[in-house]
């Protein structure tokens, strides 16, 4: 609840304090800025609910912009990038479940591999993105800018999967068991734990790829560094929204509010001409503050 109040507070303060903030131009800009983070955070939330963590989302985002900017027709690159993202997520998930690797180590290693591949196919930013991707991000439909439709769509999908499906229920069941220290609680009740956790990592990668598509539409090119720090920002957004990093507790609306709060913070600091380096410092401090108020049972990673 507190983050929502903070969001309302910042919005009022910015709209009174600065002339630029409340203009429609800045508001739609704000939504477009918040979108990639919102999409990536929804994906991140899937794995956090099952007490995991996905540190590879940042490089998956860069990777998907690089794939889209390849010199190939869009009807090939677009499906290919989602298939590759699913493969990345499945590898993460299999490593975590079947091979018993700690999620942080598995996804950190994956971050390196994907970043390396991204730099191989696109060493510096450039290339052109298929026309339909650009149109779907920068265009407008019935006078409403496209990012609004993106927001409605991803929130609807996220809501359906997390809060209105058997899969979502199982996610929370697995995470709740892990948070209370009984790693096989959900499995004992017949939840197909391995399959669900692998699917959570696949979902995270797919959402990251979608965030990459949105970003590619905005910057109209491929960029090997565009996803940098997205893994940390998405974790911050999810944690800000009240989702427990130990698993089992969380809500989609919280994550959405967390993502918008972070985007608002960036927007406000940009309007106030705060150096981008200081913005990183502020976000890092925010992450530190949020997680230090989440009490866990377990010590360590």
């Amino acid at each position: 609840m507190l983050p929502l109040l903070v969001v309302i507070g910042i919005v009022t303060w910015l709209s009174i304090g600065t002339d630029e903030f409340a203009r429609p131009g800045n508001l739609s800009n704000l939504l477009a800025q918040a979108m990639p983070l919102l999409i990536a955070s929804i994906g991140q939330m899937f794995v956090i609910v099952v007490a995991g963590l996905d540190l590879s989302v940042g490089s998956v985002i860069s990777f998907s912009t690089a794939i889209l900017a390849l010199d190939a027709p869009g009807y090939l690159t677009f499906p290919a990038l989602f298939m590759l993202a699913a493969l990345i997520g499945a590898t993460n998930g299999i490593a975590v479940t079947r091979l018993n690797v700690h999620p942080i180590i598995a996804t950190l290693a994956m971050q390196y591999v994907v970043l390396g591949v991204t730099r191989l196919i696109r060493p510096v930013s450039g290339g052109t993105v298929p026309e339909f991707v650009i149109a779907s991000v920068q265009g407008s439909f019935l006078g409403v800018p496209m990012p609004v439709f993106w927001a409605i769509t991803v929130l609807a999908i996220g809501w359906k999967v997390l809060h209105a499906s058997r899969f979502g229920l199982h996610l929370f069941a697995i995470g709740g068991g892990m948070a209370s220290g009984q790693t096989s609680a959900a499995r004992n009740f017949g939840v197909p734990e391995t399959r669900i956790i692998i699917s959570a990592y696949v979902a995270s990668s797919l959402f990251a790829a979608l965030a990459g598509v949105f970003l590619a539409g905005r910057i109209v090119s491929g960029d090997p560094n565009v996803g940098m720090l997205f893994e940390l920002n998405s974790i911050t957004a999810v944690a800000l929204g009240g989702t427990q990093l130990s698993g089992g507790v969380g809500s989609l609306q919280g994550t959405a509010i967390g993502a918008f709060l972070l985007a608002l913070l960036s927007n406000g600091m940009n309007l106030a001409n705060v150096s981008p380096f200081i913005q990183t410092v502020v976000k890092g401090g925010l992450l530190l503050a949020v997680v230090s108020f989440q009490r866990r049972r377990k010590m360590g990673l």
């Binding site: 018993n100 976000k283 890092g284 010590m299």
Partner: protein, 310 residues
């Protein structure tokens, strides 16, 4: 037969990787196998070697420290940006060790007392420090490092460069410290089972805080060696040391909470990385290829241990 296999399975992967890479280099570039050339290769990984000492300490108590990148950049900035004109060398040493210790103690407090995820805390600390340094230096390299630091770095004793000797001595000291002191035993007890350690009377929180503080101190030392090795101010060099150190530590057989590899397993993990860098240079592998190789090695080492500790 099975006991032999089981014993072979307990050998940290680092030794095998090291042997394989050494064989490869001997076969591919026999002329490089002389002490002077090898000394130069080893000198390059001395900063990494010291970060690994810090890493294996915290990994042994089931934690992790990724804040090293930020500490290294901050120390490098203070030394190279002429913040303290005409300061004596000892002042820089004190500052580096001080920064490392304070950051380590903060990490320890957050991990042990507030029970925050160690990855999140140390990553956040790192990006805060990096952002701060980049703000101070406006994103460009600050300046030059005093000459005497680089001169110290270039000293050799026969074929052995001073930084390598320093690293070996530090590793020996740490091995003795972990084996001979009560504190070392406590670290081992917590790594095996922190709940059992707690009920056996080990002050778990205090030991974890102290372990992180000690690791911070070692990272301060590594920051000095790293600064001496690159000899210029930089806002980029050294950022990947923490994650490489995690890889070398796992490769050396120290998995979260278990210390089968001791101190020398990770030591050989670092040596493997030294040879790996050389091999990749010989094979003409580009920077992206290196990233991929590093990722795959971390992954493979983690999978080997994941399957073994199931």
């Amino acid at each position: 037969m099975t006991t032999v296999l089981r014993a072979a399975g307990r050998i940290p992967p680092a030794y095998l990787v090291f042997a394989a890479l050494l064989a490869f280099l001997m076969w591919e570039r026999p002329q490089m196998m002389n002490p002077n050339v090898l000394g130069i290769f080893l000198r390059q990984v001395a900063p990494l070697g010291i970060v690994v000492l810090a890493q294996l300490l915290v990994v042994r108590v089931g934690s992790i420290d990724l804040s090293g990148g930020g500490v290294i950049l901050l120390v490098n900035y203070i030394i190279s940006a002429n913040v303290l004109p005409n300061a004596p060398g000892i002042a820089f040493v004190a500052i580096a060790l001080g920064i490392g210790t304070v950051v380590g103690a903060f990490n320890g407090y957050m991990v042990a007392r507030r029970r925050v995820s160690a990855v999140i805390v140390t990553l956040a600390v790192s990006i805060i420090l990096v952002g701060f340094v980049q703000y101070l230096s406006s994103g460009s390299p600050p300046g030059d490092v005093p000459d005497y630091m680089n001169d110290l770095f270039d000293i050799r004793f026969g074929p052995v460069p001073a930084p390598v000797l320093f690293w070996v001595i530090l590793t020996t000291c740490l091995a003795a410290f972990l084996n001979l002191t009560v504190f070392g035993r406590r670290i081992e007890a917590i790594g095996d089972n922190s709940v059992a350690a707690h009920f056996a009377g080990v002050p778990v929180e205090r030991t974890v805080i102290l372990t992180h503080t000690l690791a911070g101190l070692l990272i301060g030392v590594a920051a000095l060696v790293q600064t001496a090795s690159i000899a210029v101010g930089s806002v980029r060099e050294g950022l990947d040391l923490p994650i490489l150190s995690v890889a070398a530590t796992i490769l050396g057989g120290v998995v979260f909470g278990r210390g089968q590899g001791g101190v020398w397993g990770p030591f050989f993990g670092v040596l493997s990385f030294a040879l790996l860098f050389v091999s990749m240079t010989i094979l003409g592998v580009s920077e992206p290829g290196r990233l991929i190789a590093q990722g795959l090695i971390i992954f493979a080492a983690a999978v080997i241990y994941g399957l073994r500790t199931r």
